[in-house]
């Protein structure tokens, strides 16, 4: 079972990330605030106690250690907010008196400095106090002064402050959520319009996405529109092709049917021949349309391994023409890829090699090269070659320079078609041994 489900929407993802982070950080700030508050209050109280002890000491020294002469009463009540104890062998003053059980043990400990006493258990006295003890001598009289503060009261007010901080924190978190939500919604608004545009596209209300997309989405929209363009083109092309095909195929079919249905007419050799010609027409049309529809042309995300395909074809033609040698010459690395659709490359290589194989006397050589992104396929044979004057006619559909050789006269025309589709060039020239050399550059 997965505890965390990956949020499906950008909004969800942002919220899922930002909200816990915000809450966590706020909680941490609150904790740190508590600790600092605690420490600051403690230090402040300590220094206050120290000051007051110093004040009392000063007073006692002024009065030469005679505690009785110390002005007590109203003055002390006014100046002193804290409980205190002054001890001398002759007299002990503790104010307020209810604190006596707490402060007396401190007088007797004999340790100076900041002291802390927990839970005395007395009803009137507080349970948690902080005290500052100082012992000194005035003349020969040892005197101990203790000033103490009720920590409980301090903690209560601290807790109140801390609680308020928590409330403010929660309010801030709510505000943060609101701001995040608002920010996300605002920045996702173009996406929403994009979504709307896609919906309208699907419903057929619009044919292209024309919304002003944010910069991050612009390539996406562009790619989508290009895809739509190419889909439209393809649909149009295949419709045209099918219409043409149907038009040119139906007529011969009608003619053949006519002959077959006419029972009164004997099926003589001339008629048989006529029917065969009509059927040949249908086949030729089908063949050329099939090939045309199979060429993919340059496409995004399509590539081929030229070496593997070339080796397979060379091997196959070597089997079909066993007394001829089909050779490959290339310095391309074994795994190199070409941005040509696999079937298209097969058609180019297959037709060129098959043609060369037909004409060669002993050897056909295929050279594959790639320079600066330009792909070059060179097929050379050692056959009789082609007259200079005939070169221009090569690659024309249905043209067979030698009518004795079997074939449709389509091979080189197909290569020309594909090469044009890739905006490439085909060049025919005489090979080094008098054969034909065909160079295809893509």
């Amino acid at each position: 079972m997965t505890v965390f489900r990956k949020p499906a929407s950008v909004k969800g993802a942002l919220l899922a990330l930002l909200l816990p982070a915000g809450i966590g950080l706020m909680a941490l700030a609150w904790l740190v605030h508590g600790l600092l508050l605690d420490r600051m209050a403690r230090e402040f109280v300590e220094s206050r106690l120290q000051d007051e002890v110093a004040f009392l000491e000063h007073q006692i020294r002024d009065s030469d250690g005679k505690l009785d002469t110390l002005q007590t009463g109203d003055y002390f009540q006014d100046v002193f907010h804290h409980a205190f104890a002054i001890y001398s062998p002759s007299r002990t003053i503790i104010s307020p008196e209810s604190w006596e059980p707490l402060l007396m043990p401190l007088v007797e400990t004999g340790r100076d400095g900041t002291l802390r006493v927990h839970g005395s258990g007395t009803a009137d006295a507080p349970s948690d106090i902080l005290a500052y003890r100082q012992s000194f001598r005035v003349g020969d009289t040892p005197i101990v002064v203790i000033v103490s503060e009720d920590l409980g009261a301090l903690k209560r007010s601290q807790a109140e402050l801390h609680a308020w901080t928590a409330i403010v924190s929660v309010l801030l978190i709510l505000l943060l959520v609101a701001v995040i939500w608002f920010g996300i919604t605002l920045s996702m608004r173009p996406v929403a319009t994009l979504k709307g545009a896609l919906k309208r596209l699907q419903d057929g209300e619009i044919s292209r996405i024309d919304v002003q997309a944010p910069e991050e989405f612009r390539p996406l929209v562009q790619q989508l529109n290009q895809l739509l363009d190419s889909l439209d083109q393809r649909l149009e092309r295949s419709r045209d092709a099918l219409a043409n095909l149907s038009h040119s195929v139906k007529t011969p079919i009608a003619a053949v049917r006519q002959i077959l249905e006419d029972e009164s007419r004997p099926l003589d050799n001339d008629l048989r021949h006529q029917m065969a010609v009509r059927l040949d027409d249908i086949d030729k049309q089908l063949e050329s349309e099939m090939r045309r529809s199979q060429f993919a042309g340059p496409q995004v995300g399509k590539s081929a391994y030229p070496l593997k395909q070339a080796r397979d074809l060379l091997w196959m033609l070597g089997r079909l023409y066993p007394d001829k040698s089909f050779e490959l010459s290339t310095s391309l690395p074994e795994e190199s890829r070409w941005p040509v659709e696999e079937h298209d490359l097969n058609e180019i290589l297959g037709n060129l090699l098959d043609n060369a194989g037909k004409w060669s006397t002993k050897c056909v050589e295929l050279t594959l090269k790639q320079d600066d992104g330009v792909i070059e396929v060179v097929v050379t044979d050692d056959g009789p070659g082609v007259e200079e004057s005939e070169m221009v006619n090569l690659g024309q559909r249905g043209l067979r320079l030698d009518q004795q050789m079997p074939g449709h006269g389509l091979g080189l025309a197909i290569v020309e078609d594909i090469v044009t589709r890739y905006s490439g060039k085909t060049r025919f020239s005489a090979g080094p041994n008098g054969g034909l050399q065909i160079v295809v550059r893509l």
Binding site: Q294, W315, M316, R319, F326, H343, N346, E365, P432
Partner: protein, 221 residues
């Protein structure tokens, strides 16, 4: 000359068998892959015509099974798809030639005669050296039970030369004689490039270099 015709379109099969009989073949016709498998293995045909799209199976599978069971008669495949990849696959499966439908009967007969002539006197000849087996008819290299590698003409001749005498050092000049090249003056680099390619197929240690002398095939590796 006995011929097995495997074609599921009865009109085409009947017409063809009549014309093939006229051309001097004695024809057995079957319409299914199952029957073709049995007939091919039981009878001794001189040549077979095999359609690829059969109602109960693929013709290529029939061909592969025949070849696996050492049925060695030449086979011409008929296919409606004139795709180059289909042709390559057909020949890799063990066919000797292909013909795309529709075809003229004269062309079929001419092709049949050609593959029969080619297969005459042909025996299952292989060159073995160590773990490697070179099939001379198919111009391919097989590793024990591994995949079959197809070779181009010169690759095959070089490997055949090296494998014919394992352990013998062949000089570059000797190997150069195996080379077919349209270039007038083949350089040493060409041999080196071919050796590199062959080493990729058989392993670097299988073909060792003797500096200044040439190359040798290690059948022990």
């Amino acid at each position: 000359m006995r011929l097995l015709l495997v074609e599921d379109d009865r009109l085409l099969a009947d017409g063809l068998s009549g014309q093939l009989e006229k051309a001097g073949f004695s024809v057995d016709t079957t319409y299914t892959a199952r029957e073709a498998l049995i007939l091919g293995e039981q009878e001794d045909y001189r040549v077979a015509v095999l359609d690829l799209g059969l109602p109960d199976g693929n013709g290529l599978d029939v061909l592969r099974k025949w070849r696996m069971n050492r049925v060695s008669c030449p086979v011409l495949i008929l296919t409606a798809r004139g795709d180059w990849q289909d042709k390559v696959n057909g020949l890799k499966a063990g066919a000797d030639d292909y013909l795309a439908k529709p075809f003229q009967t004269e062309e079929l007969i001419a092709r049949l005669n050609a593959i029969v002539r080619r297969s005459e006197g042909r025996v299952h000849s292989t060159v073995k050296a160590g773990r490697f087996e070179l099939d001379e008819n198919r111009q391919s290299l097989k590793l024990d039970d591994g995949p079959e590698h197809t070779l181009t003409g010169t690759e095959f001749r070089l490997l055949r030369c090296l494998m014919s005498r394992p352990g013998h050092v062949f000089s570059k000049e000797q190997l150069m004689e195996q080379l077919y090249n349209l270039n007038e003056s083949p350089s040493d680099n060409v041999i080196e490039a071919y050796i590199r390619r062959l080493r990729k197929l058989v392993g670097t240690d299988t073909i060792s270099t003797r500096r200044g002398q040439g190359y040798l095939f290690n059948d022990g590796v």
